[in-house]
């Protein structure tokens, strides 16, 4: 067993871990030894090939196909240097005031969250894409919404030098997206924070972390870990768990903690999503340009769903279409004519939805589609179908309908064809050492938006507390 000793160990390098590393980095000047342990690999810039299955295998937990306990939903979670900030589309939304108020966390006010969020809006170059850069897949969404009288909003995104590859979800091949892999982690490393990749923390035992460093697979992508492969015991004065909403609770469940945490693993929310697809008569620009430029959130409070533009890759699209055989292939062959909309349900805390671990200590996510979530997905599907037709689509694929394909001439009957009763889950992409948590597992309920800015804001708050108490914590 290899031994290591640090003042601060940060587990995970995504929005939470990357931010904490950056904010604590200056402590290295005073001699503090800080390390980030990241389970996934660190890729060289030229290794982001944009090939769907290849990149998903390298940059996502379980290749992007982590299944819930009953197999009814897959969870896509980034796993690598930068965590999920490497593989999302860069959409950057501040948490709505209503959400922070409804969380009702003592001492956490909306003003503070916004002040911290603004810092990262600036740091990560969040801005609006110019109108002439918006592709037809996104423009058609705006057209459809406006014809129906809906208020569409543009997503601010955190890119620098975007070339419109549309490959954001596979890790930007042009390094344009400003995730923690481009901004916070490099800054932390310049201050002297170490980042150890391919290092999975098994459990915490008092002041010691038990971890394993894995070998780079032969012919695989990414740098080898800076540490030799093998088992490690890492002593730490402070541990910050930033492994994400699924892996942090699992890690704590595998660990010997000095206090019982009865709510550990509870309160899991995930914004279950459906990818909807429509076919137009002509080819549209869809897989060139930023994939996610607009959203519609006017139904969040009344019906519990949000619509976003999106454009996915062939396998992900194929998986999202119901059915198989010739009708399925027929839709796939129309790829250059496809418009896509993502329907997200704003799920809330439910006692059934939680994280546990199996006999091997692997996380198991239990998720039940509540009637509210089913209804939100069905109502979101109906609205998206209306938008597609208003934008001129000739037919729409709707997974929650009596018929999976609705032709334009049947568009008047959408209401009776789409119903939550036809919605079938299955294919919904959805111490003794001082221990802190700084990731999405802190959220007491649904965030209703892309969470990374809010995770950064909360991680910033946790880091501030550690900095303030560094004398005591590290002394």
């Amino acid at each position: 067993m290899n031994e290591r000793e640090y003042d601060i160990v940060i587990i995970g390098s995504g929005a939470g871990g990357g931010t904490v590393a950056q904010e604590l980095g200056p402590l290295c000047r005073d001699g503090a030894r800080i390390v980030v342990l990241e389970k996934g690999p660190r890729l060289r810039d030229d290794e982001f090939s944009g090939r769907e299955v290849e990149m998903a295998q390298v940059l996502y937990e379980d290749g992007g196909g982590l299944l819930t306990a009953d197999g009814s939903m897959t969870l896509a979670m980034g796993c690598g240097y930068g965590g999920s900030t490497t593989v999302y589309t860069g959409t950057s939304i501040a948490a709505p005031e209503r959400v922070i108020q409804s969380w009702n966390v003592p001492g956490l006010g909306y003003e503070e969250v916004m002040r911290r969020t603004r810092k990262f809006i600036e740091q990560n170059n969040v801005h609006y894409l110019k109108e002439e850069r918006i592709n037809e897949n996104n423009q058609l969404f705006v057209e459809g919404c406006r014809r129906l009288g809906y208020d569409v909003e543009q997503f601010p995104i955190n890119v620098k030098g975007c070339r419109g590859s549309s490959l954001c979800n596979l890790g930007c091949p042009n390094q344009a997206k400003q995730g923690t892999n481009r901004v916070q982690l490099p800054r932390a490393e310049r201050e002297g924070v170490e980042v150890v990749t391919r290092c999975e923390v098994g459990r915490l035992e008092g002041r010691t972390l038990i971890a394993r460093v894995t070998q780079k697979p032969e012919g695989g992508k990414g740098e080898p870990s800076p540490w030799e492969p093998g088992e490690y015991r890492i002593r730490a004065k402070v541990v910050v768990a930033c492994a994400g909403a699924v892996n942090t609770p699992a890690l704590l469940m595998r660990s010997r903690l000095p206090t019982r945490l009865p709510r550990l693993g509870h309160g899991f929310t995930s914004h279950p999503a459906l990818i909807l697809v429509a076919e137009h008569e002509r080819s549209i620009s869809n897989f060139v340009g930023h994939p996610k430029s607009y959203y519609l959130d006017e139904f969040v409070e009344s019906e519990g769903f949000i619509l976003e533009t999106c454009m996915y890759f062939p396998f992900t699209t194929a998986k999202s279409l119901r059915g198989f055989g010739a009708p399925h292939s027929d839709f796939m062959r129309a790829f250059p004519r496809l418009q896509m909309i993502l329907v997200l349900a704003c799920d809330h805390v439910d006692p059934s939805n939680r994280v546990t671990v199996d006999g091997d200590g692997r996380p198991v996510v239990h998720y039940r589609f509540t009637p509210e979530v089913r209804n939100a997905l069905a109502r979101g599907t109906l609205t998206a179908a209306r938008i597609f037709f208003a934008a001129g689509a000739r037919r729409v694929h709707v997974p929650a309908a009596t018929h999976t394909t609705v032709e334009r001439e049947d568009s008047e009957r959408l209401e009776e064809m789409i119903d939550e009763r036809h919605f079938r889950p299955g294919g919904v992409s959805v111490s003794a050492a001082r221990l802190f948590v700084a990731d999405a597992s802190l959220f007491p309920d649904s965030i209703e938006i892309n969470p990374y800015l809010t995770i950064m804001a909360l991680a910033d708050r946790v880091a501030q507390r550690i900095r303030q108490d560094a004398g005591t914590l590290l002394g």
């Binding site: 982001f48 944009g50 090939r51 769907e52 299955v53 295998q57 379980d62 290749g63 196909g65 299944l67 009953d70 197999g71 009814s72 850069r133 975007c162 070339r163 419109g164 590859s165 549309s166 490959l167 091949p173 042009n174 080819s283 620009s285 897989f287 060139v288 340009g289 890759f313 062939p314 396998f315 699209t317 194929a318 998986k319 119901r322 059915g323 198989f324 055989g325 010739a326 399925h328 292939s329 796939m332 062959r333 790829f335 250059p336 199996d358 091997d360 692997r362 079938r424 889950p425 299955g426 294919g427």
Partner: protein, 124 residues
């Protein structure tokens, strides 16, 4: 047996040559490597069920069924009232789609030609 499922899910797979089938199978195997042993066991078991269950109804194994009957059988699994069976079919279908559309040629055949240079590549 798995190839019969792939052909039923993506009829174009019938036109793949040996090398392309090799690529498809390698993608599926890669995606299963490192997944929990329990999940792989369940998939193997479900694949066996898909192969043998049609014997009771059609007198033939799935891999010997004519395409129309094979499709009817799979449609029955897709819409089955038991969640586990629907989910099992969904998993098998996902692997078939991954193998076919995960190949660069499979993606190109439907008109998907990604380019890291994006706008520049299309002259914008």
């Amino acid at each position: 047996m798995f190839s019969a499922v792939v052909r039923a899910v993506v009829p174009e797979a019938d036109e793949l040559n040996d090398a392309e089938w090799g690529e498809l199978v390698a993608l599926v195997e890669d995606s299963l490597r490192g997944r929990p042993a329990g999940l792989r066991r369940q998939l193997r078991l479900f694949l066996r069920l898909v192969e043998w269950l049609p014997l009771f109804r059609y007198g033939r194994r799935f891999s010997s069924l004519e395409p129309a009957r094979g499709a009817r059988f799979l449609a029955g699994l897709q819409n089955h009232r038991v969640d586990r069976i629907r989910v099992g079919f969904w998993g098998l279908r996902t692997l078939a789609l991954l193998g076919y559309y995960g190949r660069a040629d499979g993606a190109a055949a439907i008109g998907y030609h990604p380019n890291p240079t994006g706008w520049e590549a299309v002259g914008r």
